[in-house]
Symmetry: C2
Subunit: 322 residues, 2 copies
């Protein structure tokens, strides 16, 4: 939660969210508890709960109602990560061993299910019917998006449009939903609700584009997981999509993919091509467009401290290096 340390108010609120999360995830099942504790210790930026709480300040701030919602969206996010790691065969996340690496895919399936059910429990007890309906649709879209992504693996014909649709479902939707939940609880004006949702949407897009860019970073420490992991799993993000549009690089990529294995020197080559080809700049430019839209949405909101925090968040994510 280091990105929030300069913002003492939201930082304090997020510590409260942590307590709600911990309480919701208590279980008599000891292995489950260990797995969950490991997840909690590995931390995370807690962006989604922050968005819930911050969005909730544009009308009447109902802290009591917002806390479980904030905890719920973070647990939902954790559930998708745990299940994602099964699919990616991932061993490390946030610098710590994944549930599936430590206890096996089997444990990870039911741990993720446990997290999902706890998230639903927290959220359904605290929202209006209509909000629950919309959130269900978000979850449906996330599942569909994950399957889309899975099916599109190793497809060098993935277009920029395909990619953007994919990350919209995978990431941006939940950012939007987090902002919506907060806005709705606060009963703010429709105009504010609109700008909050769109801030969430645009921020989510920028966030995921930059996050995917991290996969090409040299710094495994920064990343918390090995680099080019997405590529190795056949998840082609913007830099690769950009490369694949240039014949010079495409044929080399085809060879590597067809070889069936990804040797360290090949992955290093890909990293170099991504750097020398302009792919990084292209990707950063697209991230900036979404970020600028997010900041635009913010400028249409009343100048309250929560807006400053949201701007601060956008800045932090923008500077996030990669």
């Amino acid at each position: 939660m280091s990105i929030w340390k300069k913002d003492s108010h939201i930082y304090t609120e997020l510590l409260e969210v942590e307590k709600h999360i911990g309480k919701a995830l208590k279980s008599r099942q000891s292995t489950l508890t260990k797995g969950v504790e490991g997840l909690l210790e590995a931390g995370g930026k807690r962006v989604r709960p922050a968005l819930v709480l911050l969005s909730g300040q544009f009308g009447e701030y109902d802290r009591k109602k917002l806390m479980p919602l904030a905890a719920g969206v973070e647990i939902l996010h954790m559930a998708t990560l745990v299940h994602d790691d099964i699919i990616d065969d991932a061993d490390i996340r946030r610098g710590a061993p994944t549930i599936q690496a430590k206890w096996g895919k089997d444990m990870a399936v039911f741990t993720g299910d446990f997290l999902l059910t706890r998230a639903f429990s927290l959220i359904t007890q605290n929202v209006e019917l209509e909000s629950m309906h919309k959130l269900s649709n978000v979850l449906k879209a996330i599942c569909e998006g994950e399957i889309d992504q899975y099916e599109a693996r190793f497809d060098l014909d993935t277009s920029v449009g395909d990619y953007l649709k994919r990350i919209a479902r995978k990431t941006a939707l939940l950012f939007t939903a987090s902002c919506r939940l907060g806005a709705e609880q606060s009963h703010c004006t429709p105009r504010n609700a609109f700008n909050l949702r769109h801030y969430g949407q645009n921020l989510g897009m920028a966030f995921q584009i930059k996050d995917d860019l991290l996969d090409f970073s040299d710094d495994q420490e920064v990343l918390g997981k090995p680099s080019l992991a997405d590529f190795a799993n056949g998840i082609f993000t913007l830099p690769i999509i950009y490369l694949a549009r240039k014949e010079k690089y495409r044929s080399k990529l085809v060879d590597i993919i067809n070889s069936g294995e990804f040797l360290p020197e090949e992955l290093l080559n890909i990293k170099n091509w991504v750097h020398e080809s302009g792919a990084i700049e292209y990707t950063k430019a697209l991230a900036k467009r979404y970020m600028d839209r997010a900041l635009n949405n913010l400028s249409a909101l009343p100048p309250i401290p929560a807006r400053d925090s949201m701007e601060h968040l956008a800045m932090e994510l923008r500077e996030r290096d990669y």
Copy 2:
């Protein structure tokens, strides 16, 4: 749904539930749709939705509210089956290839998640807060139970008590919850609600004990999946627990388990031991005790057609051979 064919009223109602299920599981994602269609075609007894609808007839029958709940519990059940099959590495269920066998564990993870989210969506939109809270606890217990079961694999010291606790979580709880949902919607008397819930609980226990017994059946067709699959996966049920308490058989079981592989002739031996040792009779006797309790609960309910259907269901499950 053949067990319901003689009961035209509930059979018709269950056809309506099928429509609700189909509608809830529509998706633009084509592979997901194929997977889900396969699940629906493979069928199933639809016991849980039947319990919702039948329990709902002991007060005011609110069909409109009960339909989505009935569909929801069946989809929840389907979700647990899909995820179970990942863990069991199962290839066949209800005579059809499992999602994980056909498309891989990865697809099965997210298909199960999709089912979970649709189930929650259907249920939360149609129950009181308190019901939702109880159902969440049921789901929590199911996940914890699955992990317990996973951890207790290949443990010949599993006691009868351990086993009963495990199936209570894994199966009986959802039967109880199905009855409770129906009873609550109908606003029936507390006494009737009590007997309905306990009927569900006892029926669920009897059902699972008999279902586990099927694993020792000769008839793969009856089973819809290969026999002794539980044993091969290290899930030790009553017949094995019974065998393991007799030194003569225990040492042979230890040898087989330690060998690390289960040859067909060894599995055949185990089947024979289960038959010759009295394990089958022991197991059937325990199933009968729960079944008698269930019938007792029924006798305390008013003699309406729904009660006849519930009695009919108990009879069908009792005769289920094994």
